[in-house]
Symmetry: C2
Subunit: 177 residues, 2 copies
């Protein structure tokens, strides 16, 4: 950020009075422009024991598989965001169940939240961001071609939980590297 979104003047990077970290500060109008982490909301859609994954038609990670997920928008709940992203990316209607994983990814300033979900119909209509949507048996999950570490970690926890016969909530952090 280089200009003030409030008044258009140039902004400076410094620690405001009473604060402890540098911010973009506008000396013209006094507004401090905070920058905060984004929430990525996703779903783990199940249908008769299989999981719905989408193969990405966009960068980053073009061609790799992901659970349907994307940036939460203003005015919606985390669960609504997960259902919306599933509709946008897979053309699939789901019924959201309980939250399953919350994963902080501080080096990209994101928090990923995935919900267990029930796929209502096994038909898909992938959106522009998706090459194909497909149901996977556990044994066929494409572990080597998963787009994001949060998705891989969520799938790993899901598989382990199912083997143990009980699903719990998983809070995890992913460090850089």
């Amino acid at each position: 950020m280089k200009f003030c979104s409030n008044c258009g003047a140039a902004v400076a990077r410094r620690v405001p009075v009473g604060d402890s970290v540098p911010r973009w500060v506008c000396d013209a109008c006094g507004v401090i422009h905070y920058q905060n982490p984004l929430v990525v909301a996703g779903a783990i859609p199940e249908y008769e024991g299989r999981l719905l994954l989408c193969r990405r038609a966009i960068e980053p990670r073009y061609g790799y598989w992901t659970l349907p997920a994307g940036f939460m928008e203003n005015g919606e709940t985390v669960a609504q965001a997960a259902a919306r992203e599933t509709m946008e990316e897979a053309g699939a209607r789901i019924e959201i169940a309980e939250p399953f994983s919350m994963i902080s990814v501080p080096y990209v300033n994101q928090v990923h939240v995935f919900f267990r979900a029930r796929l209502l119909h096994p038909g898909f209509a992938p959106g522009e961001e998706t090459l194909e949507a497909q149901l996977f048996d556990e044994a066929a999950l494409p572990w080597k071609d998963i787009a994001f570490r949060t998705v891989g970690l969520t799938l790993k926890c899901w598989v382990e939980d199912r083997r143990q016969g009980r699903f719990t909530f998983h809070a995890e952090d992913i460090a850089a590297g």
Copy 2:
């Protein structure tokens, strides 16, 4: 937002191509300025069965009681944010345990996440945002003077869970009104 933070030109509110909701768009440099929900991270610090609350020295809700909580910053995990806010608001060191509640508040574009936590020492040094910090027995919790609905709901769930002898994760939404 009225000006482009990237180039300083005036921005317009419209639906970008391929999108479905209005954004602030800069026609001069092409940047789309997304606005997304903020994460508020907080703690439920316990010490010998009592809970730590802080009485607010700032608006909104000056003089009302809250669990220590605040906006998550870039570069930290949700748990780190909760511990930092507890230090800033109560001058209290805690050991973060498991996440306890995740509450969407879509009408203010926020997601509140509270962690169970163990207060390491019963001494406090409230920061500038806090009038006083105090440990409360369950029977003495100031239910009528709680600052925020997410804090009241989290405390209610905590009290019910303790009575049942087992703590679980609570996902909730709070609607306007």
